[in-house]
């Protein structure tokens, strides 16, 4: 198992996490130790394993039913809003 700082940076980019340089170092050490531990599953021979679980339909019928949500509470938590709409930065 060998990870590099570059790997940590790539993962952080994928996960949209801002990390300090110091934290990248400590995360690298932690990840190597944790991945070193979980890697022991490599030794397990699995062969043909199939799940015994039965799969069945749990979807409900598509019928209208009132749901109790507080619109006011939702809008109040927007970091920025205008006329009851969520306001975000320009993306184009």
């Amino acid at each position: 198992m060998s990870l590099s700082i570059k790997d940590v940076e790539d993962l952080a980019e994928l996960a949209k996490l801002e990390l300090s340089n110091e934290e990248k170092e400590s995360l690298l050490a932690d990840m190597e130790s944790i991945l070193g531990y979980v890697k022991q599953i490599e030794e397990v021979e699995v062969g043909e394993v199939r799940s015994n679980d039965t799969v069945y339909n749990v979807w409900r019928e598509d019928v209208l039913a009132p749901r109790e949500f507080s619109r006011e509470l939702i809008v109040k938590q927007f970091p920025d809003s205008q006329d009851g709409f969520l306001k975000v930065k320009k993306i184009l």
Partner: protein, 476 residues
Amino acid sequence: MIDLENLTIEKARKFLDAKEFSAVDLANAYLAEIEKKNKELNAYLEVFDDVLDQARVADEIIAKGESYPLLGIPLAIKDNILIKGQIASSASKMLENYVASYDATVITKLKKQGAVFLGRTNMDDSAMGGSTENSAFGVTKNPHDLSRVAGGSSGGSVATVIANLALGALGSDTGGSVREPAAFCGIVGMKPTYGRVSRYGLIAMGSSLDCIGPIAKNVEDAQIIYEAILGSDVFDSTTITDTTYKKLSFKKELTLGVPWDLVNGEGINEEVKENFKQSIDKLEKFGFKIKDISIKNIDMALAVYYIIMPAEASTNLSRFDGMRYGFHKGGKNLLEDYKQARGFGFGQEVRRRILLGTYVLSAGYYDAYYGKAQMIRNMLKKEFSKAFENVDLIATPTAPFIAWKIGAKSNPLSMYLADIFTITANIIGVPAMSIPSGFSEIENKKLPLGIQFMAPHGREDLLFEVGKQFETLKKE
């Protein structure tokens, strides 16, 4: 004065119905204790300002002659379960100011019974940890020894019940987060069968593992809370019904399986082993048949868990982007907004698990980690089904060691090992319960230990039965 120390939900029900004290009296008694002790323990993150109003409503219902098991009973709720109009922060800076816009199903059910919610309790940030040391708002101290952790992630909920700051509590259990703190603090904590209790309104961590569970002073009380919150729910398609699992019939004489090779394995504290052996001896003398069982690959469960859980958590936590609610720190553009909110809003352990989850799910490693872990998970399920053909219940210690000193475990992996006995129940989805099994004396302090029982899918009734029997044995 109400004797809170010896009060149980069952007793309080009788007193309330007989009008020996009112729900307002009871709530006031708890509020007074909270006022005295919470600052030191840091068990509650917030005590609600409408506690007495809730109690008054309960008293009105009692006055009408109605009665429900939890009517007027003061409960503490873990900070990751939504109560409409109240903050639910998951003890994270990310959700520090997040106000829930709806009730979790468990809350709706408790409200229907007229339960009184005292406040929201401390936990590890986003339920990730085994000690509440990862909380963004400080650690919860163990009421038995303030220099030690209360366990986690439901440490606050557990501490409120043992310190008489609530009569019962709700926690959540993804890998042992109800049972491990219950063992560390000496009370009863239970994880139901996966899907038995709705997860709607529980802030998600590992969706195939998460369960809401009761925390109480004794098995009877845990059962009362459990029966109040269970049931299938259209808002959670993973909930089960009474007929989901076939009920096998059992003989009068119950057989307990003990995986001795795991219990006697490396890294298990000697006092924990000794205490567990004594408990098993007592159960055997009482009439339980004890059977040594060996479960293939059970020693892989922890590794499997620390692949599946971060994978699911990294997926679930991708919803927190600081856009619609939660921590927001404006950057130069939208991408920077995301990265800053997530980089600064999540605690260190959460960032660690998000990265781990992203790694094990990434294209080049998916098969070797996540795919393989899922296959071993299926193997473990089969192995346990086989084991349950020969035994009714499986017993282990709840945790491999006693509550540690605050700050003593700085390496994340050493903390993860605390889950060695509890995670299996989450991986295979069976119900499990931790029950106090005695004390260990360290530095003149009596520190609790716990025994864990696991039952087949859908057989919570067996846990309650063996639990109640074990409680009477302990008194002898």
